[in-house]
């Protein structure tokens, strides 16, 4: 099967990367199909965030290829197709910013200089604010919101372009059980109703158990498939 005939949403092909001399990832391979929900687990410092940053083109692999929707990541242009919720995202900002303003920054890549958003952009903004239950707090300062609400604002920012691939890096850090349940519900909705591919990085299996199609562990620089049902991992490559 060629990449052209069946483009995955995200594909790592024999990717090697290290910040210094020590490689963090060694010939790691993974394909995430459109509409698939893949959970990525692994201990602290194993390279989960690094893998996500490579997948989104924020880092360049020293060997191997990363493809987004069939295109080499360095030549990928349809940025609206991507949604990214970074780990420990900058919710603790030094200057005031309202919830609506934060969410709106997700559209900045779609606007040409000197242009403001179209009606469709405004509709998308309203839609994601509703979807994430933020309509009532849209004018409030982000820093005045609870941790769970802040996280939802950052997810709304990632969703505002109507992406086809959503990357969430530890989205439940500092979020209470109720907010986790709400997040889980909205993710289920996105996957089943909108058919979005999701990569979900987390220590906490509760966040993805039952929704994830596959669980992948980053271990010693490689990606190892973990059966979501049986905790004992098999060593087959993914």
């Amino acid at each position: 099967m060629t990449a052209m005939a069946d483009p995955s949403a995200l594909e790592f092909d024999q990717v090697t990367f290290g910040y210094g001399r020590l490689p963090v990832l060694r010939e790691a391979s993974l394909r995430i199909a459109e509409g698939e929900f893949v959970a990525v687990v692994g201990p602290n410092g194993s390279g989960k965030t690094t893998l996500m940053r490579l997948g989104l083109g924020l880092l360049q692999p020293s060997h191997g290829v990363v493809r987004l929707f069939g295109a080499d990541v360095s030549r990928f242009r349809d940025r609206w197709r991507l949604g990214y919720v970074p780990q420990r995202a900058s919710a603790a900002t030094s200057l005031p910013v309202s919830v609506a303003e934060v969410v709106r920054t997700g559209l900045a890549g779609q606007l040409r200089p000197g242009r403001r958003g179209t009606r469709r952009h405004r509709e998308r903004l309203e839609h994601v604010l509703d979807l994430m239950g933020l309509a009532a707090v849209r004018r409030q300062r982000l820093s005045e919101l609870s941790g769970g609400q802040q996280q939802r604002a950052l997810i709304a920012r990632a969703l505002v372009t109507g992406p086809r691939l959503l990357v969430l890096d530890e989205p439940t850090t500092g979020v209470d059980a109720e907010a986790r349940a709400i997040l889980r519900e909205s993710l289920e909705h996105l996957v089943t109703v909108e058919g979005i591919a999701v990569v979900y990085v987390s220590h906490d299996p509760e966040g993805f158990a039952g929704i994830a199609d596959r669980v992948v562990e980053v271990r010693a620089g490689r990606l190892v498939r973990v059966d979501p049902q049986a905790p004992a991992p098999t060593s087959q490559s993914v």
Binding site: L95, P96, E101, T105, A108, Q110
Partner: protein
Amino acid sequence: MEILQFGFMQRALVAATVIAAVAPLVGAFIVQRGQSLIGDGMGHMAFAGVGLAFLVGLNPLVGALALTAVAAVALARLTRVGVGGDLSLALIFYGGIAAGFFFSSRAGGGQNQVLSFLFGSPLNLGWDEVAAVTALAGAVVVIVIALYPQLVALAFDEAAARVAGVPTQGLVLALTVVVALVVVAGMSSIGLLLISAMMVIPVATAAQVASSYRATLLLASAIGAASAVIGLLVAFYANAPTGAAIVLVALGAYCATALTRLLAGSLQRASS
């Protein structure tokens, strides 16, 4: 007010108020990016530019613009090749002040004029200089408005902005260039050593009371303009240096706001 009868006072008022209103519009982005001192780096480099201009007989604005443009590009390059933000800024800082002083010492009779740009001398401006300052400030406003959504995205989360397709490298360079424009536009009225303060202090004041980014920008701009007007009047009646008076007024507004919030907070706690 009778002091407005004086032409030199009118010119000083226009030049200082325009730049003090515009500086926070740029400052908000550098403060949010944790680069509050970048304006100072540009100021030192502009000093070298002014010195060089006097040495070779150019308009000081042209010399300052040329060298700050070089500094803007160098800063972007240095950061990209891994000379961290703080260190690359330090290189530009010290290089600028040393070169500026070196050039000005060779400029003979021009030396005093070169040094006058360090703290500004708004009372000596001609209308042509005021027009140049206003044009530079206008260019800054146009650029900030045109790139506003992208600049906000960059300031709050550079990685997410890049993923979303914002051309962050070019945008960082554009931001550095507008910082340079503000510094050059402000050097004759507020001075190279103090103009950066007007990019930062009004923003810090506005941030204490505003609840959105947009409101912070607009309020900071208003605070900057008001500080310029009040500072100029204080300087005139107290026979004090203008740039220093303007910055001290801005700082006073910051302290007053912080104190008021502190008092209001403890009153609230006491009554509950």
